[in-house]
């Protein structure tokens, strides 16, 4: 037995990166807002008080009121639910369908790849808007149909990102090594491909989250998303468009809320990405 370098210090848990902490904190804020809205909001966020319309911030209305005299703060709290729901479900759909599809395509090649990637192409060419219109028209527009349409529309992005990453991973020698030890394709996908494309997929998730939240806003505006009077941040922002010159705060609050949520998820995504890259933080 040779002598070994004295003490190879045991891997100690190091403090998670700052981005991760800040991201988690922001996401927590949004989650909290959503949770709080279930038990308490200062006012009924759907109730209009025409007499109190377009007020600035005050003790009674922390963030003022909108054109219908609804309390903006209540709307922001309540809207967190919709935002989280739409973002997570849409991204979830795309992630759960697109990523395996892309990995499958990248690993199997041949007919499987051909069919799944062409399908993704068609889907990509198929405007999410059109899907949303169809769902809206057939099932009646709602948060659910919007979520579905956005989710479906985001699938090709995930599929392509996953596939291109998979192609690169599959050309490495450690995959050869795994094949040589008779690992099933599934296991190679899970243990080799997935961890090595995770960085890109996480970024894709956080970007898609942002896109989903904003797309819900756009769909709501076109009448294809969350129907009024249920407040969603996106629609609050859209509705404030006309007031940019006169009551800019109406745009600032939902804008800020969206920014916080998106920023939170992005930072969380970046943080996770960096955390899971062993080379970047000494692997501890």
């Amino acid at each position: 037995m040779t002598t070994q370098p004295a003490a190879v210090v045991r891997s100690t848990r190091r403090r998670p990166p700052a981005t991760l902490l800040v991201g988690a904190a922001l996401v927590l804020l949004v989650v909290l807002a959503a949770l709080v809205s279930f038990i308490w909001t200062p006012y009924n966020p759907e109730q209009a008080f025409p007499a109190d319309r377009l007020q600035g911030s005050s003790a009674a209305h922390l963030m003022g009121t909108d054109r219908y005299g609804r309390d903006v703060f209540s709307g922001i709290l309540y809207g967190a639910r919709i935002t989280l729901l739409v973002g997570l479900v849409a991204v979830g759909i795309a992630l759960l369908v697109g990523t395996p599809l892309g990995i499958l395509a990248g690993m199997r090649g041949g007919a499987v790849e051909e069919v799944s990637m062409r399908a993704a192409d068609i889907l990509l060419a198929f405007p999410a808007l059109l899907v949303a219109i169809m769902f809206g028209a057939v099932f009646g527009a709602s948060t659910t149909t919007a979520m579905l349409a956005i989710g479906i529309g985001s699938i090709p992005g995930f599929a392509r990102v996953a596939r291109s990453g998979t192609l690169q991973v599959m050309s490495t020698e450690y995959v050869l090594a795994a094949k040589a030890s008779s690992q099933s394709a599934f296991r190679i996908a899970r243990r080799h491909v997935l961890p090595n494309i995770a960085g890109m997929v996480v970024v894709q998730c956080s970007v898609s989250f942002a896109i989903a939240v904003l797309a819900e806003a756009a769909l709501s505006f076109l009448g294809l998303g969350t129907p009024p009077p249920v407040p969603s941040w996106g629609r609050m922002l859209q509705e404030s468009q006309q007031f940019l010159g006169t009551y800019p705060m109406l745009a600032v609050w939902p804008g800020l809320a969206i920014a916080v949520a998106v920023l939170g998820f992005n930072l969380l995504g970046d943080g996770l990405r960096d955390k899971f890259d062993p080379k970047l933080n000494g692997g501890r």
Binding site: M1, T2, T3, Q4, P5, A6, A7, V8, V9, R10, S11, T12, T172, E173, Y174, L176, A177, A178, K179, A180, S181, S182, Q183, S184, A185, R187, R191, H192, P195, N196, A198, F276, D277, P278, K279, L280, G282, G283
Partner: protein
Amino acid sequence: MARLSDTAPVHGGPDEPLLRVESLTVSTQDRPLVSDFNLTMSRGERIGLIGESGSGKSMTTTALMGLLPEGVTATGSIKLAGHDLDLVGAPDQQLRRIRGNDMTMVFQEPLTALNPLMKVGPQVAEIMLKHRTASSRAAASAKAVELLAGVKLPDPAEAAKAYPHQLSGGQRQRVMLAMALANDPALLLCDEPTTALDVTVQRQVLDLILESVQQRGTGLLFITHDLSVVANICDRVLVMNNGQVVEEGTTVDVFSRPQHPYTRGLLAASDLDATDADGRLFTVASAGGYTPPAPDHLVDEVPAAAVHTPGTGAKTTETEAPAPTTPATGPAEPAGAVVVGPETTAPATTTLDAGAPVISVKDLVRTYQRQRTSLFGKRTEVPALRGISFDVAAGQRFGVVGESGSGKSTLLRILAGLDQPTSGSVRVAGNEVAGAKEHELAELRRQLQIVFQDPMGSLNPRMRVQDIIAEPLLAPGQKVDSARQRKLVAEMLAAVGLPADSADRFPHQFSGGQRQRISIARALICQPRVLVADEPVSALDVSVRAQVLNLLSDLVDEYQLTLVFVSHDLGVVRYICDNVVVMNRGQIVESGSTEQIYEAPRHDYTRTLVNSSMSLRAELAAREAALSG
């Protein structure tokens, strides 16, 4: 710009040492990797750096270059003649002018050290363009081809247009070397530059290094595990262990009168002719009973052809390996591929089914299409295997030696079912590999494991060592619970000489040799019937090498493991294998029992090969002779 060459340097007199390193310490946040390293090197001096794998050799040289990985820092002082500044902590701005020009380095792992998306020619040319040592882009390209020819790359003009992954391991290593020599540096740092080279090419490359070093007064710091190489080219030796220099002196002194027990151990382990009481190779731990070679009474043992004096070696080897002229055993006569009966060389256990060979290769051809270099350019064909045939019987230890780029790795990949032959047939343990579908190979893979040539590339950077090694246990059909997995992994780690806590670390945190051991551990954990190993010990220090070779021997004996062993180190092959085939340019030029091949080589190429191999004793003797003569 101060360029150091054979002419007078800009600063300081000729007495000023070329390199002065004082109390260099390299450490991560939680432990030192190298402590208190001191070195003074004068112009033209050739210093060898040897030591255990993971002892900090690479870290030391990387620190000299100022290129330590993230999270690793250096303190102390490094002074290079002609530059006033201390290289430790010098601004990158300044170091940039030194790196690649006054000081160059050949990195340890050639696969990952080359940009995979750039053709190698331009990668070599770049270093000249960067330091304006070539007048134009065209001149640089032309010079690059010249340099590639200089490092004995066959068809250098074509090779310059290849991407790294299209070259064999040894070829890539030579590309690195060409790069390092391009600007005639004042100081050349070589981190195991010849591990992947076969002996003939190694000889040529060493001569090339020696030649340029001697002509230009270049200082050379040479890391290697091969003590005979050190004896051959170095004036002085530093022995490192555990991050510290434990012994230092002239080559002859250190090797013939080692002071430190570790040095003694190294010498013992490197001596493949010496075994301990149990008939096993010495390791550092068991080196107690070993007597180092005393050169004076060994001179007469040296075969004449193996005596090399620095600078003359090139003449003894042919620059171009001879084209196969009716080899003794050629592709035309597959039957001639000798199946050496187990009885002739079989190790202790002889309960072998001598009937069916475990591996049977017939007329194997593999031709690579080298990708079109431009979208519309034409493809070139690279015949990696040109029709080879041989059989391997169960329990046999089958060696494959041969020139770098002769198709050894390709052969192994095909044996493992990881690549498909262009034509021919390969049967392994009763399974036909050629044309087999992925699922049809499952059975093969249960029985066969492979150790890859490039250790880093074959380890998933995102998996912990525990999971990497345990991977084969997860293959379908295996049922091993996680507690048992941990236990088996721990056993394997011990068997290949890695500390138990390695299991929780990631591959990039290991030295080159340590990585190789990880991949060996992975291959052996599920006790395969057949192990194909591609240069499994070339990156290992001699002690670990001895340990691994002992391990392999044990396994072969215990489990009737059939071993296919590729190595350029004839000594190792001779030690471990009972049968050998010699490959050259995609063909088997000779095959037979080890003794037969080594003692009475019939083919020209085999002769060159045998003659080019160095042994520590011979080298030391030559050095003594040169000194006294």
